[in-house]
Symmetry: C2
Subunit: 465 residues, 2 copies
Amino acid sequence: MDVLDWLAAALGEEAVDAGALTTDPALLDAARTDRSGWVADGRPLAIVTARTVEQVQATLRAASEFRVPVVPRGAGTGLAGGANGTDGSIVLDVSALNRIVEISADDQLAVVEPGVVNSDLNAALEPYGLFFAPDPASKAVSTVGGNIATNAGGLLCAKYGVTREAVLGLDVVLADGRLIHTGHRTVKGVTGYDLTALFVGSEGTLGVIVGATVRAQPIPPGEPVTLGALFSDVTAAAQASARITAARLRPAVMELLDAPALERIAAYLGPATIEDAFGAAGGAAYLLVQFDGATAAVDATAAGDLLAETGGTVRVAADAQEGERLLAIRRAFHPALASSGEVLIEDVAVPRSRMPEMFAAIERISERYGIPIPTVAHAGDGNLHPNFVYTGETVPDAVWDAANDLFRTAIALGGTLTGEHGVGVLKRRWLADEIGPDSYELQVKLKSVFDPLGILNPGKVFGGA
Amino acid sequence: MDVLDWLAAALGEEAVDAGALTTDPALLDAARTDRSGWVADGRPLAIVTARTVEQVQATLRAASEFRVPVVPRGAGTGLAGGANGTDGSIVLDVSALNRIVEISADDQLAVVEPGVVNSDLNAALEPYGLFFAPDPASKAVSTVGGNIATNAGGLLCAKYGVTREAVLGLDVVLADGRLIHTGHRTVKGVTGYDLTALFVGSEGTLGVIVGATVRAQPIPPGEPVTLGALFSDVTAAAQASARITAARLRPAVMELLDAPALERIAAYLGPATIEDAFGAAGGAAYLLVQFDGATAAVDATAAGDLLAETGGTVRVAADAQEGERLLAIRRAFHPALASSGEVLIEDVAVPRSRMPEMFAAIERISERYGIPIPTVAHAGDGNLHPNFVYTGETVPDAVWDAANDLFRTAIALGGTLTGEHGVGVLKRRWLADEIGPDSYELQVKLKSVFDPLGILNPGKVFGGA
């Protein structure tokens, strides 16, 4: 009896007939990749599409029994190769575990299965005046389980926190098939080690998340107010964003686009779009700021004055429609780049005060390697997404060399090589550089506590040295 | 050569002459206890008062070499016995490591040594318009390192988060004396497992915290506005607090005192104090609410209307002075109890919606065991501090029986046996009940990764089964 026979028996005839276990080559090939474009070598053995926690448990028992790697997967929208089905693995797809089990308005929390799509959860919370704060760019398609597995970020993090801060407790199936529950339904709780935080961002290497109790925050009252500002260069824009922070204003969103980004967006939207929004004025860097809550209008006016003082050409949106036009410039970043070639989306973060240096380094690296690197930054938290533009089917070596330079610069500036995407496969070779050999060794030992047989997403996060 | 000789040599003559190593019986005895009143059996071997990271490292190397337990200790203000010096241990006092190394207003963070007192850090941040959010009741004397080691809470957590959310990175000396750094200076960062979160709340069982990079938040603008309300019973007060949350108002502080608490406070302050504040009206439960930020006055008025609608006798403070009088009622809780006997301060947390049930259970347990249990709750996050009043030198068995009942009730309501004090020694026998045998086993294995020789604060948190 091989692992697939064992698994079929464990899942049961009914589930198998309903498609819980497939070896369809086209599906297996599709599971080899994610939104990073990286494709795993070889081919997975099978895909299990779990519809119950018991099926997840059965899959892990089978994998333990036969020492077969398991790759947990949600919507497959990752950007680091973490959920890509590797050769000979069982891809454990939990995206069909997609029920919202409970919304408690009184306790301001939701209990969900991992496959619930981020924006579906938000749509369900909205009638209660609540929202789930993590807002990765993929939120319309990515799952809450995937957001948790990668500790996803987004635009709102500087004000509303990263995913870790939004997770109260987890249901996790361990490598041997046991189900544990971590954390609390309470805001506070200090019994033992924080296993919840340990699973958040663990990229499928410690266990399979099959349920989550997440915080739901009150939607800020009133309408948000948006402003945009054009600057002569990215350093001026970065300094202006720092002044907003220094003034103790707390924007919900603060996004910065550099010159190569703005050029491509202008070409994509038509140059008149930006000029029209700014009364014919031009600029080489764009700062988009949005305030929410009861003081949004007052804060936006104060921020607008500050940005104008620092040399910006400022538009404070008079209404939601004008706000949308200012937001549209930022939103056009990814489509504009997609229309101009292939891109490797990077994800460094630096302390806010080092952003001007990081932008200068990106410019230098772009020149040195002859690679365009249009960049957007979540300026409120120093998280930059340099996009390496290239042609061809796979990422050229020169792009990786340039990325290597970029990562080392970010680390040298007191930053990190990934602010919100995760390590996956694509960044594992720099992990030890950032965290150091002693922490690396501890982390590998930690993994072995949860995964003594090495079946949980092996080759991801670690093993890149 | 014994461990003390080895240690004296490693610390160096100069440090030893300056008092870095002591075996003074009076000091050893003082280190056997904390603010919980629990006194460890036997006596520690010695106390090391470290003034450098190297001295911490030397102490751990000595402890590893001779297999001697190390008990890390800050100000000794814990309430669960976690830092109490046990028989034959080396107490490693880090309270003299008390420099504020850096404050970065631009990056809104501070880098501190572990012995910095919470309120000293806040005093240093204040000129920058920043504050360190964790505010345990002990903040005037407890250390940031101790706050981190216990994941301390406080009054402001519902709005501003617990300690874990305020810690960006840590410097930790491992059991074998190696120094590692975890986390980032950035808000975001997802490289590998979240070791920072694992150390937060680990109560000295995984390593010794010798440095911390903590978030500093902008002080909310304007003056806070305080209101107080008297209710006919604690259930009405708890429901009223739930209505404030349900109305999406976000108080900075929301504290609830039950009837046995209010009686003692009235006796302590003189009954006229409360009656004067409320224009001669009386009540059996007290809700104190404070709003901060730009909308404080508007929010306080809205909350006051809500509380009045739900049957409260409400005073919205017209100025800071009146606010102080309303706050003074809450602040009198601990002194009032201290003047009426010995107390065991408990620390359960339940989902906010279950607070009325928890208060009812406390009343029932108080009657069943014949023990007065005046209670104060951080109503915004469901964290209750039932104070078991007793006489005599040690906590009577009947009090522990009653506490046992209380813990089981909190867990049954979806809560936890400790919201913010930690497990230490006093709650270890209930830990497995709450987290379950599988999580317990995982946690013990996790500890052994960091502490293979079992020298780090043994007998704390675990070992109570």
